[in-house]
Amino acid sequence: MADHVLQIEGLSKSFEGSQVFNNISFSVDKGELSSIIGPNGAGKTTLFNLMTGYHVPDSGRVLFMGKNIAGRQPYDIVRLGIARAFQRTNIFPRMSVLENLLSTVITKNGGNLNVVTPSAKLKSAHERSYEILESVGLADVAHRQSGTLAHGNQKRLDIAVALALEPQLLLLDEPTAGMSPEERWQTVELVQRLWEDLKITMLFIEHDMDIVFKISQKVRVLCYRTLLAEGTPAEISSNEQVIEAYLGEEV
């Protein structure tokens, strides 16, 4: 119990009769950088959706810091300390890069009922926003309309927005999806550096096995509605079941 940030207990979920998960359980240790892999349609994103209040599980519990959060509203769960970056970029496209951050910082500080002070004059929120933009390398484009950024930078902004929420658990859904090989490794370095600097727990979904095995301390494999295996990269890459079901001839 002691050092688990997240515990999934007997989680099941069906959509219109087709079962996505059947009785899944696992725990995420505090400070861990771990990954979730699995074939397309294995329910990796659905798992994130269940953790963040987008979907309500049919049964089972999602314990965050010991508290059951299954079925709570997304905005509520964010405030408790789980933030996520999305697979398909999910930003505020017609607002500037800075405003994307600013609105998040203001919301995080609980200041968004202020109807008097111009948001452009909130000095500490601006400083905090720039600080985060600098940490992900987007400070130079702070005044660009965010929807006009290149895909890779939009993904970075998505991560920056999640970081602005100062989460204890950060969920990254395919942070390198759609990127060029060069951008991919830049993003991987960014993720690893943020994890080392911020000392938060990170859980990411990834398809690229090189990335998964390089940076994860622990790998979880979702397949056939269950958690097929869980272990260190070395354990997973030599696991017979995993090779047969998922990694196949690749490894």
């Binding site: 964010v78 933030a83 505020f92 800075l98 609105s103 109807v115 111009p118």
Partner: protein, 326 residues
């Protein structure tokens, strides 16, 4: 830490200068018109109505342009404001200032009740529910003869002695300017920024910790309050309140004004509303038989806007001067 540049479009000193010139012109306008005899009197009345309808259009734009919520029932709050003034002054003998002060309050209460249900839905379903509530209120006012006068409306609203047409114009202008500054403050605030995040991406707004429904509800109430004041002002200008004020076609007016003027700026809907009223009068004065054909002209105007200036007049101006839209 980079340079702490302003995040808003750089309106700066040029913006303030244009604003000052417009305000001075608006104050001078009735003084010039009053020299023109009967025609002048008519135009003072028209410009007063333009100010009121501009306020109504801007009030809708808080939810439409800034909040991304299309409401087809905004006239409900305009009507509640109008009937508040009519009933308080005619039946309770209240003074004008009190009636006008209470118009936004009753409208806000109505918006709080109706909005509480409506914000549970999004998109088209939200729009249809606002329409349903608006028409429900319209039918209540239409049928309740003993209280609202039904389809006769309430006529002969008292007018204070000192309130000449010019004085009333100035009253409306001052209230319009106060409301304009208040709305400007709201849209530039943290609250305004939050409302825009919801417009831009409702799902993401939830995942940065925004209680979306609650903020949409607050915004709906604010918009309703400003609409209520506009309704109250029009009631006193006309010295009557009638069911037409609550009708869904009245709800369409600020939507059309926002489309024509541009819904991503504060002044856009006010400009759109004024231009439409002006054109309507021009068409009617060109030839009396053209009154019936206004809908055709309106259709052509909207067609032109949608095809050639999707950002409305303000968007067109920004494009021509090379400024970006927000």
């Amino acid at each position: 830490m980079g340079n702490a540049r302003n995040t808003e479009a750089p309106s700066g000193t040029a913006g303030w200068l244009v604003g000052a010139v417009v305000v001075v012109a608006l104050f001078a306008l009735p003084l010039i018109l009053s020299q023109l005899g009967r025609t002048g009197e008519y135009w003072i009345w028209v410009t007063t109505e333009m100010l009121i309808m501009a306020l109504f259009a801007m009030s809708l734009n808080l939810i439409l342009g800034y909040g991304g919520m299309v409401s087809f029932g905004h006239a409900a709050f305009f009507g509640v404001g109008a009937y508040t003034v009519a009933l308080l002054m005619k039946k309770a003998g209240a003074p004008l200032w009190l009636a006008l002060a209470l118009a936004p309050v009753t409208a806000a209460i109505a918006a709080a009740i109706i909005g509480w249900f409506c914000v549970r839905l999004i998109g088209l379903y939200f729009a249809i529910l606002t329409l349903a509530f608006g028409q429900l209120l319209y039918m209540v006012v239409f049928q309740w003869y003993t209280f609202t006068g039904g389809d006769d409306g309430i006529h002969g609203i008292p007018k204070p002695e000192i309130l000449t047409p010019i004085a009333y114009y100035f009253l409306c202008l001052v209230l319009f300017l106060i409301c304009f500054l208040a709305m400007r403050m709201i849209v530039n605030s943290s609250f305004g920024l939050t409302i825009r995040t919801i417009r831009e991406n409702m799902e993401r707004a939830k995942f940065i910790g925004v209680n979306v429904r609650r903020f949409q509800w607050y915004n709906f109430i604010l918009a309703g309050a400003f609409a209520g004041l506009a309704g109250g002002l029009l009631c006193e200008l006309n010295r009557f309140a009638q069911t037409e004020f609550l009708h869904w076609s009245k709800s369409a007016e600020p939507i059309l004004a926002s489309l024509v003027g541009g819904m991503y700026s504060l002044v856009g809907p006010a400009i759109g509303s004024t231009v439409l009223i002006f054109l309507k009068i021009i068409v009617q004065q060109a030839h009396p038989s053209l009154v019936e054909t206004w809908a055709i002209f309106l259709g052509l105007i909207l067609l032109a806007v949608v095809l050639f200036a999707p950002g409305g007049l303000v968007g067109l101006y920004q494009r021509l001067t090379g400024k970006s839209e927000t």
